[in-house]
């Protein structure tokens, strides 16, 4: 049985498309409401396969997956998607309506929402993703970045409890990434659970607390971001690079400059360097950096 506190729970999850070539092995996860999580791992580690289990698109070959206490084997994808919205990587695989507006309201119409509520939510989603001026256009006339925003709008519009994003920042310019970060803040305030599958370490450093690393279908690490992103052995095993600031800290260490190796943020590094300058008596330099 599932623990009622967990919005997503997997028990000894194994998955193979055929036979026993397992793509996922012994996945045990408990995700609580309101958590913001990043799933990292190299290509082929099984990240997309895993998230497809969270709305029932895939059912476990062995083990169980519970979404909000419901066993996914007993529900249809449509039923589960009411609570779990997944935005996949390729927008062209998820767009099928005549107009931008119709695309956004598609899910809500399937769920039988009240007409006026749908109208409200469509307006909200259009504004949030900056797509108002395209509302009556065919989605196929939008640029790739705009189509990505559309798929995001289409899922956010129906306000699922759990939001899963597959590579949301891939191919996005700085402005769009900021927009996505803003949206994630909004969701955090509303106690939504957000899971991001990504390679974009720089993006998640400031925005998640918990990191799950998948390697060859198994969970390599599940826990605090600082512990993993500053641990060389773990990162090597997962074939990931640490954030750039951490890399600078390590390089400084290699050159015998005493900064801690578990630095994640610019501010931390700055403080350490200021501290060092003061220690060595370089007050001039210290004042300049303090700008």
């Amino acid at each position: 049985m599932a623990n009622k506190e967990n919005v997503i729970e997997t028990k000894n999850l194994y998955f193979a498309y055929e036979g026993n070539k397992y793509i996922l092995k012994n996945i045990n996860l408990q995700i609580k409401r309101g958590e913001i999580i990043a799933i990292l791992g190299e290509n082929g580690a099984g990240k997309t396969t895993l998230i497809k289990h969270f709305n029932g698109l895939l059912k476990p070959s062995k083990g169980e997956v519970y979404i909000l206490g419901k066993n996914t084997k007993e529900s249809s994808v449509a039923e589960l998607s009411r609570h779990v919205g997944i935005v996949f990587q390729n927008p062209d695989h998820q767009i099928f309506s005549e107009t931008v507006e119709k695309e956004i309201e598609f899910a809500m119409r399937n769920f039988g929402f009240d007409k006026s509520y749908i109208k409200e939510r469509v307006e909200w989603a259009l504004r949030l993703m900056g797509l108002e001026k395209y509302r009556n256009r065919s989605p196929y006339t939008l640029s790739i970045g705009e189509r990505k925003r559309l798929t995001l709008a289409a899922v956010l519009s129906y306000d699922p409890d759990i939001l899963i994003l597959d590579e949301p920042t891939a191919g996005q310019d700085f402005l769009q990434k900021e927009r996505i970060a803003e949206m994630m803040n909004l969701l955090r305030h509303r106690q939504k659970t957000v899971i991001m599958v990504t390679h974009d370490i720089e993006f998640i450093v400031n925005r998640v607390e918990r990191i799950i690393i998948l390697a060859k279908g198994e969970i390599l690490y599940d826990g605090d971001k600082r512990e993993v992103l500053t641990n060389l052995q773990l990162l090597k095993k997962a074939r990931l690079l640490p954030p750039q600031i951490t890399q600078i800290a390590w390089l400084l260490q290699d050159n015998n400059i005493e900064v801690p190796t578990n630095i994640l943020y610019i501010e931390e590094l700055l403080n350490e360097l200021l501290h060092l300058c003061k220690k060595v008596g370089l007050d001039e330099s210290a004042r300049r950096i303090q700008v």
Partner: protein
């Protein structure tokens, strides 16, 4: 989709696989004609058994069986429809039609299991059809599995946005499945445009004479088999037309 297993090429080391595709096509042609000129159980049964023998020689019975299993419902429908529509000789005739369908399925399965898409393309080009048209045909074949995958992707996307395709009454479900049509068509058209661009970017159409990677060559065994099969086929057709076939062939098996 296990129904399609009997039509996907599998590389095996048999004499059949080594035959020129044009030879195999002649075999398919002759078998098709023979299966169409007979309406009786016994001749069709003989033809059917010989196609199984061909598949045995091609070591492809496993894949063929999967397709035949998938065809079961279809065969039952053919039997029933024939049974209720013809006035007399019902059982024999319906069984004969089932056999004819099985022969056609099996002989085409035999062809596609033992011929690579490239060989097929070369065979079509070698028959004199302009490259543009032969490419259209072989490319359509090549993209059938891709299309199947695209279909699944679209179905998954629709389900993920609340479209119920797993539960509910049959009418509602069929209606919901129609939502797949437009995105699928649009997606495939856009894909074809992208492929056209890719082809042009790689020099398609630049020269009228291309250098093929493989070249088809008819060997002695090819001439032997194709001429042999043609002669046998011709003889059988002539015998049938002149009414010279043994009456055994026309025995009625069932009294219904």
């Amino acid at each position: 989709m296990s129904l399609l297993e009997g039509f996907k090429f599998r590389s095996k080391d048999t004499r059949i696989h080594k035959l020129d595709p044009r030879t195999k096509f002649i075999v398919v042609l002759v078998y098709t004609v023979l299966s169409l000129i007979f309406f009786e159980v016994i001749p069709l049964l003989i033809i059917f058994v010989s196609t199984i023998f061909l598949l045995y020689l091609a070591k492809s019975l496993g894949e063929w069986k999967k397709t035949m299993k998938g065809m079961i419902y279809f065969l039952i429908i053919i039997f029933i429809l024939n049974f209720i529509s013809i006035p007399e000789n019902k059982f024999d005739y319906s069984l004969a039609m089932v056999l004819r369908f099985s022969v056609l399925t099996s002989i085409f399965s035999f062809f596609f299991l033992t011929t690579t898409p490239d060989e097929l393309a070369l065979a079509i080009e070698a028959s004199g059809i302009p490259r543009d048209y032969s490419l259209m045909f072989t490319m359509s074949l090549r993209f059938v599995p891709t299309l199947a995958k695209d279909l699944q992707t679209i179905i998954d996307a629709l389900r993920s946005r609340g479209l119920e395709l797993e539960k509910g009454g049959i009418i509602k479900r069929v209606k919901n499945y129609t939502y797949v049509l437009i995105p699928l068509i649009v997606y495939e058209i856009r894909r074809s445009l992208m492929i056209a661009e890719a082809l042009e970017a790689r020099g398609y159409g630049a020269a009228s004479k291309i250098t093929p990677y493989y070249q088809l060559r008819m060997k002695r065994i090819d001439y032997f088999v194709s001429i042999g099969v043609l002669i046998v086929g011709l003889i059988v057709v002539l015998l049938k037309v002149k009414g010279l076939l043994p009456s055994l062939f026309y025995t009625r098996l069932f009294s219904i």
